[in-house]
Subunit: 371 residues, 2 copies
Amino acid sequence: MVACYYRAWVRRFREVGVTLKKTSNELSVNERAQHLLKVLIERYIQDGEPVGSRTLSRDSGLDLSPATIRNVMSDLEELGLVSSPHTSAGRIPTVSGYRMFVDTLVTLKPLEAGKIQQLETGLFSSSDPKIIVDSASKLLSRLTHMAGLVMIPRRKQLTFRQIEFLPLSSKRLLTILVTTEGEVHNRVIDVRKSYTPSQLVEFANILNQNYTGSSMEEMHQRLVKEMEQERTDMNQIMAQALEMAEQVIDPEIGADDYVMAGQTNLMDFNDFSQINKLRELFDSFTEKHEILHLLDGSMMAEGVQLFIGEESGYKPLDQCSLVTASYQLDSQVAGVLGVVGPTRMAYDRVIPIVDITAKLLSSAMQSRKDK
Amino acid sequence: MVACYYRAWVRRFREVGVTLKKTSNELSVNERAQHLLKVLIERYIQDGEPVGSRTLSRDSGLDLSPATIRNVMSDLEELGLVSSPHTSAGRIPTVSGYRMFVDTLVTLKPLEAGKIQQLETGLFSSSDPKIIVDSASKLLSRLTHMAGLVMIPRRKQLTFRQIEFLPLSSKRLLTILVTTEGEVHNRVIDVRKSYTPSQLVEFANILNQNYTGSSMEEMHQRLVKEMEQERTDMNQIMAQALEMAEQVIDPEIGADDYVMAGQTNLMDFNDFSQINKLRELFDSFTEKHEILHLLDGSMMAEGVQLFIGEESGYKPLDQCSLVTASYQLDSQVAGVLGVVGPTRMAYDRVIPIVDITAKLLSSAMQSRKDK
DNA sequence: TTTAGCACTCAATTAATCAGAGTGCTAAAG
DNA sequence: CTTTAGCACTCTGATTAATTGAGTGCTAAA
């Protein structure tokens, strides 16, 4: 159902290969070092212990003695791709090491049919966008055993379908805004004078006739422009309708949010031995602001995006990696989803999961809109 | 503004006093032991270390030698009110000890004016019940430095105000349900045949005229009864209106929920040294089911209710205490709020906070309804 | 360029010791 | 009968020392 190919990653670290050449036989040294880095990282991800030259010599499949490996490791350390916690420990990858790994070395594990099945049944089983987004985050956390998060579709990306006004008291109105995507937004607004129900219906009709089908952002811009016009034209009814609509539409724009699931999975990683770090992380999840900023940043990017450790530039996340992918709606980027986990995560499994979930979420949202 | 008296607690443990008498001079021994228990618990709550006979001898203000204290402690241990973690440590309160403490010994600290001020400004600053409930939980967590939680007003307690139907597609309707309390509920329902907008308006009118002002529960019951009737009367319009209303009202009933804030505060208590315990606890917060059950149980109770340690009968909470109080709406119990914290919490401060927050929440909700 | 060998380092474990806090019991004093 | 002083005993927690094992870096030879 979903094509299982993965895009080529930005090969940002190609140059490192060049930097590495030191011998006439350049390519081979180069490749060898990369291969060893790959094996080292895979091993480290697997069991979380610094890996030493002996192990690497055994597992690399290269038939090199530990001593040789040590030389290579020394080079890699020089390049800042690995480091050792202390003199008599093996090596562990640095952030740059991971970066090179995910950009050019990793062999992605195709997602098993069973998991894809799970995702499909989970995502296509409801037509309420809220519920779909919720399942998506739960599925992400379940499949990765980490924390899953999904950004609510950006308001301004949604398309206006219908607005209604219900009088609550003389000068308070309940406004109901429905998008083509099926989201419903309620807002109570205060108005200067009281209107009869039929006036309110008239306002709604005007707005519905004029704006249905335009995106919230468009609508917002048109509203502002047309309010200017109407003010001079002195068309009272129109002007009032526009003003009320503006009150509803305006705050809806830019109020991004996300839902999250499986945060507690992160407690199991011994990496977070210090409870402070964990608290900081959890606080940042409720705080939301900075995380949203990060998600926002990866909206534009094609395909899967990674923030490894301190790359995010956000302190609570410096022990974590964030793997994201954007999802579409009407072939426009509408939001981002992803997972948060320890830097030492199984990227080869996680990247495909995030990738495919994003694609399936796109089509789940779309399919419900087509109904 | 708010009366600052506290109700008398159920004095469940009175009898223990009797059990304690061993001497002719019964009252005094009794009181002395109780006093010592009180001092012990206060001390233990303060600094979390088992308290020994020396300390108690110094701090009790009773001018007794450590040896005598030891005898008393021995009695209290016999009664299951205190226990010692190991032979050469002081004593710590048991659950029964805490129970006796909160039921009959504790001296509640009146809440400072500043905090009351905070609560008032926080709770009365919005008119949206969702936001009010949200602030309440945040305030609880801020004032107690623990986790605050507030149950959403029970649906069936709310009173019906208005219903509207908007056509989404030929056989799908968006229903909007407004309560007198200001809550708005949206639900998409599927109907068997398609209706014209004017038919829908008619349905809504019928329902609004007939049911405005009745509680959801009443309304539900009346709907069921009247549907029976109409079926025989063959009043098509009425029957259809009723059926649609039933589809909206029915699922709204009994779907309880709560909001929570400040969970991460719980990470700071070294009591949860084992991360497993903490995870279990946090999972139970997202799971919600069992916690709701507990809250439900304390709905009926007058005043502040406590579940200390294993008293809740719910394993993830066995290191915690839950302090709850119910809040009213139309002088009917509408929900419960409270805080979750370690068993070793400052009950003398927390109980008044929960108590007063509940009262202020009641009036905040009420005042917004009066508008 | 690769490898074997060797000296060296460091963390983690185990065991041993020691001081401190607190108890329980007993016998004497009030 | 109640309270207290005294003493032996227990247990924790901190400190120190010794041991082991994994792994490195360097050098000299293959």
